[in-house]
């Protein structure tokens, strides 16, 4: 099946699908409403995976998420499976659509009473397949490996620069060739995937345009002169014949079957000669020879007309010997072809006028007769190709050949590639870029970049000096027109890649922004710093990658933001210590302090160390369990920052206090408690808890426990400065203490802070007296 047939068929299917969607959707809307009514009490955690319950008809309709509007050709995406279509065509409604930060995550919903469904939708033309991902990577590698050759610099006179120019031309021509090879390989991968038919056709059109681009602008200036003609002719035939795949096998078969039920020979039918000529015009020489043989025209002529028979035999020989590689041999070949044609015209023959005319036309065609070539061609590109094959193979005449061809066969504007190819032939490269972009952004962007590297896109001129400014110093604005169209397209493509949540694409996008020419480094830094915060990190490797980009581009502000985001994310997961580590690295010391006190408070209220291995390892210089060392000093070094060492110090003292208390080492317990009470940065409300929960019940109530007078005086001093019985926070935390304490402590403590203060003061006075006595 040719590409054209496939396109026509697809369009028919597209129209049919829409018709079906309309009718099916109405029925399904009714079905859906009934179903919703029936399940009105159903928990809406139920998420409908439509694909799982589709019938074969629905599968057909759902085959592609995106369809083309038959009238405008625009890509349309279905909100969801046809089974749950939310919209009724033609009716007004309240559709709301909100774009997300990634292309695959957008939300649509109808603000209508009988529809409370949400419809997650992906953007059209966003390919996240592995095949596409690999393709993008390969094209990036091709462009990246161009190195300095990514920039075209106007050569100056001199031997060294001439050789530099040659090397540059070789490099960019090779890059274009490799890009085309990769595109062909990608097309091969997807061509049998029914869901990718539309993409396949778009890529084929891109390939046709690139084949033409390579032929006209990336072939004949290659420094390896030896096989230039061969390269050019093969490129020409590849471009023409891949573009539409004509004539197709079914058509050839149809021609040969025309005379099956008649007495006529196939070579008596003009369509046979038209087919033969078409094959010759397109340089399909093997197929042309096959047709001649299959027609049996030579055996027939051997018995009827020796002159014609010899002419046909000579024609076969000439076709077999068509010189693909040597310009010199071509001139000799062409002289023979002209001679053969002329000899036949001048000879008497014994065949019918019609057959003689057909043979004569074919001989003149291969002799390069312009009129014969043009009249035998069905399309402008067939005659254009034949002019190079049989008339004069010179690019200098390309515009003339094109004009002659177009006069006879105008271009088909419904084929995206035809106009672009004619523009390429006349040297207008700019206008093909939007077309390429509409077909495939990736191919277009890298293609444009290589074209720019070749120096074919210099059209921005300085008004004063009338010189191209593409090579002038880079500009501030990444989308400035003076940066060049290729840079603009590459940047846009990088942005598109960042809109996906595919991490491979992110690395390519950042890489692209880094190497895109004509954009100032500062501007690239701004771009990367804005994009990087949106990177969908999940693993430690992702995080490392982000920070490596920050380091490479010296983005300390972005690093700080990233550390803050990591800190918040870990805090939400309950990984307090790791969160604090990140907050420290972000310079958010207030957060580190705040969370350190939160940990302190939790342990204080609990009356024992927190059940956090990492935290306790930090304050205990490593953690050892029954099997040995679990958290080494080295790991702790990485986790604990200087800020954390400082802010966690009160918790560390509290931890040791609990240990001493458990060991009933009362002297040490008291020393540690006093160091906390005397800590100048201790929030006021914690002083109350330290006294109420530990000092009062352990050391003050018990008259047998002596307390040094300096300790008593310290407590009195701190109470005088910090104890505020009316403070809201202090009251709240004291009430919580009373509620959460065991019976013994809650019986011991009075209901109000005022009473507690009185009791503590009384006991402190007693202890002071006790000490003096």
């Amino acid at each position: 099946m040719t590409k054209k047939e496939l396109k026509d068929m697809l369009m028919d299917v597209g129209v049919m699908d829409f018709a079906n969607v309309d009718s099916v959707s109405e029925q399904n809307n009714v079905d859906e409403q009934n179903e919703i009514k029936a399940n009105s009490t159903q928990d809406f955690e139920n998420v409908d995976d439509i694909s799982g319950s589709s019938t074969s008809e629905e599968d057909l309709l759902d085959e592609e998420s995106f369809l083309k509007d038959p009238s405008t050709g625009e890509v349309m995406m279905k909100l969801t499976s046809n089974k749950y279509l939310p919209l009724t065509k033609g009716n007004p409604g309240n559709l709301h659509f909100k774009m997300g930060t990634i292309a695959s995550a957008n939300m649509a919903f109808l603000s209508e009473k009988d529809n409370t469904n949400l419809y997650p939708v992906s953007l059209p033309k966003v390919d996240t397949s592995n095949e596409y991902s690999d393709y993008v990577k390969r094209l990036f590698d091709i462009y990246s490996s161009l190195g300095d050759d990514r920039v075209y610099s106007i050569p100056t006179i001199g031997i060294i620069n001439t050789s530099f120019e040659k090397e540059h031309t070789t490099a960019v021509n090779l890059a274009m060739e490799t890009l085309i090879t990769e595109l062909e390989a990608f097309i091969d991968l997807i061509k049998n995937n029914p869901k990718m038919t539309s993409k396949y056709l778009e890529l084929e059109d891109s390939l046709t345009i690139l084949n033409c681009l390579q032929l006209i602008h990336f072939t004949l200036d290659s420094p390896d002169i030896s096989d230039l003609r061969s390269k050019f002719i093969n490129g020409l035939l590849n471009w023409i014949n891949r573009s539409d795949g004509e004539p197709n096998a079914a058509y050839i078969e149809q021609i040969f079957n025309m005379t099956n039920d008649t007495d006529k020979n196939i070579f008596d039918v003009s369509l046979f000669w038209n087919l033969l000529n078409q094959l010759l015009l397109r340089g399909l020489f093997e197929q042309a020879l096959g047709c001649i043989e299959r027609s049996g025209v030579i055996p027939y002529l051997e018995n009827t007309c020796e002159v014609s028979s010899n002419a046909m035999k000579d024609l076969v020989q000439l076709i077999q010997q068509y010189p693909m590689d040597s310009a010199q041999t071509f001139r000799e070949w062409k002289a023979l072809a002209l001679e053969l044609g002329q000899t036949y015209i001048d000879s008497e023959t014994n065949v019918s006028g019609e057959l003689r005319d057909s043979i004569e036309d074919t001989l003149l065609l291969i002799g390069g007769h312009q009129n014969k070539i043009i009249s035998a061609s069905r399309t402008w590109y067939e005659s254009f190709c034949a002019m190079f094959l049989f008339y004069i193979p010179s690019l200098e005449l390309a515009s003339e050949f094109l004009q002659l061809s177009l006069n006879a066969n105008p271009l088909d504007i419904t084929n995206p590639w035809e106009q672009s190819c004619t523009q390429l032939i006349t040297g207008d490269i700019y206008h093909i870029l939007p077309v390429l972009e509409s077909l495939d952004t990736c191919t277009a962007s890298f293609g444009a970049a290589i074209v720019e590297a070749k120096g074919l896109l210099e059209s921005y001129y300085d008004n004063d000096t009338n010189t191209p400014i593409i090579n002038s110093p880079a500009k501030e604005d990444i989308f400035a027109p003076t940066n060049g169209m290729a840079s603009y397209m590459l940047m846009n493509f990088a942005f598109d890649l960042c809109a996906s949540d595919n991490k491979d694409f992110w690395a390519i996008a950042i890489g692209l922004i880094s190497i895109v020419p004509n954009v100032k480094s500062g501007c690239k830094r701004t771009t990367i710093s804005e994009l990087l915060l949106h990177y969908p990190f999940k693993t430690n490797d992702d995080i490392e990658w982000m920070f490596s980009v920050c380091a490479k581009w010296r983005l300390p502000e972005v690093s700080r933001s990233l550390y803050t985001m990591l800190g918040s994310s870990m805090m939400n997961e309950g990984r307090t210590i790791e969160a604090m580590t990140n907050y420290s690295k972000a310079g958010k010391f207030n957060f580190v302090k705040e969370y350190s006190w939160t940990l302190f408070e939790a342990a204080l209220m609990k009356g024992e160390p927190l059940d956090d291995i990492m935290l306790n390892a930090i304050v205990n210089d490593g953690y050892t369990d029954s099997d040995g060392l679990v958290i080494s000093e080295e790991i702790l070094q990485n986790v604990v920052t200087d800020a954390m060492r400082q802010t966690l110090a009160p918790y560390a003292v509290l931890f040791r206090f609990f240990q001493a208390k458990d060991n009933e080492n009362w002297a040490v317990t008291l020393d540690l408690l006093m160091s906390l009470i005397d800590f100048q940065y201790l929030p006021n409300y914690y002083l109350v808890i330290l006294i109420a929960k530990f000092l009062y019940p352990i050391f003050l109530i018990n008259d047998s426990k002596l307390i040094k007078d300096e300790y008593v005086l310290t407590v009195m001093k701190q109470m005088k400065e910090k104890w505020d019985s009316e403070d809201y926070l202090t009251k709240s935390i004291y009430i919580t203490l009373l509620e959460e304490s065991d019976e013994q402590l809650s019986n011991l403590l009075p209901k109000t802070l005022k009473d507690l203060k009185k009791r503590v003061n009384k006991k402190l006075s007693f202890k002071l007296c006790q000490e003096f006595m």
Binding site: D49, M99, I102, M107, N117, Y119, L123, S568, M571
Partner: protein, 312 residues
């Protein structure tokens, strides 16, 4: 594709994915907000937030560096700030300075801190900053007399200014003797029931937001305004209206006048309800009463062309 059925009991007014597309917040006239966790194509309801006394119009996620914070606004005239910590959601603040329905809430670019922009039917917009020790005094400004339907922050940008030194103060025609200073340019746009679009910027001297431009172009209510989020492009504002048009307002530099471009010459078939930009600001999505979502992209020649369509 997977749809989420019966997400609310009544009309849905907003559905917003968070920064990473991992959580979805929705709100409805059933006065609730629902939080869904997103994992690939699956959406799991994890919380229903109740607190408003009227239909909830809009929700917006704060930047993740501030934690998991959500703002919601309602017909009850209140804005509620919700926070999730260790899997538990709670109200951390209520902002109630408006005397009528609050129609829109938008968090400022993270560079400004935890700052919220609210637009109300009382004709005012309020800007409120949430600090660790509570809410700062909100700034309230009269924006559109009949009511403000939508508001949207500009991305955080800086502006270079030439400051003349004192010994060169009289050299008014020359700026070569001046020093370049860089200042933050805080701006937002509002759309109102007076058919106008207004651009506001922060005046350091007045300590409030002052009007920078009043943009006329719509002939009916402005339903939504959206400022393109990328600082890398020139400034783009999209405004959509009851008059079935979408206007793209562009400004090359912050001191230049705003240029008006109709997205398409002919009117859309019905009212346009929503406008939103992609992350990189290069794709604009519009949705409206014709039940279609159209995507638009500025082409290489600088005009706007369809980049796709969401339809049945």
């Amino acid at each position: 594709m997977v749809s989420i059925t019966n997400a609310h009991n009544e009309l849905i007014y907003d559905a917003v994915l968070d920064y990473y597309g991992k959580r979805l917040a929705t709100c409805s006239s059933d006065k609730t907000i629902k939080i869904f966790e997103v994992d690939g194509e699956s959406y799991k309801l994890v919380e229903t937030l109740e607190g408003h006394e009227g239909p909830v119009w809009r929700v917006d996620w704060a930047h993740p560096k501030f934690g998991t914070i959500l703002a919601s606004c309602s017909y009850d005239g209140k804005v509620i700030i919700w926070k999730e910590e260790n899997g538990r959601w709670s109200q951390i603040a209520t902002h109630a300075v408006h005397s009528a329905s609050v129609n829109s809430v938008k968090w400022a670019p993270h560079e400004y801190g935890v700052v919220l922009l609210c637009a109300s039917s009382d004709g005012k917009v309020s800007i409120v900053e949430f600090k660790e020790n509570g809410i700062s005094t909100p700034t309230v400004i009269d924006a559109h007399a009949i009511g403000v339907n939508s508001a949207s922050w500009a991305p955080a940008t800086i502006q270079e200014e030439t400051v003349l030194s004192t010994n060169n103060a009289d050299a008014t025609s020359s700026t070569t003797g001046g020093n370049k200073s860089v200042k933050e340019l805080r701006r937002f746009v509002t759309g109102g029931a007076d058919n106008l679009v207004k651009v506001w910027n922060y005046d350091e001297t007045a300590k409030t937001y002052v009007i920078e431009a009043t943009l006329q172009g719509h002939s009916d209510w402005v339903r939504d305004v959206a400022w393109s989020p990328s600082v890398l492009l020139r400034s783009y504002i999209a405004s959509v209206s009851q008059d079935k048009t979408c206007i793209i307002w562009t400004q090359a530099d912050s001191k230049d006048p705003w240029k008006k471009t109709l997205l398409q010459e002919e009117k859309f078939p019905d009212v346009l309800w929503r406008a939103s930009w992609s992350l990189s600001g290069n794709i604009l999505a519009l949705s409206g009463g014709d039940n279609k979502v159209t995507l638009w992209k500025e082409n290489l020649e600088g005009s706007w062309e369809p980049a796709g369509e969401v339809e049945q």
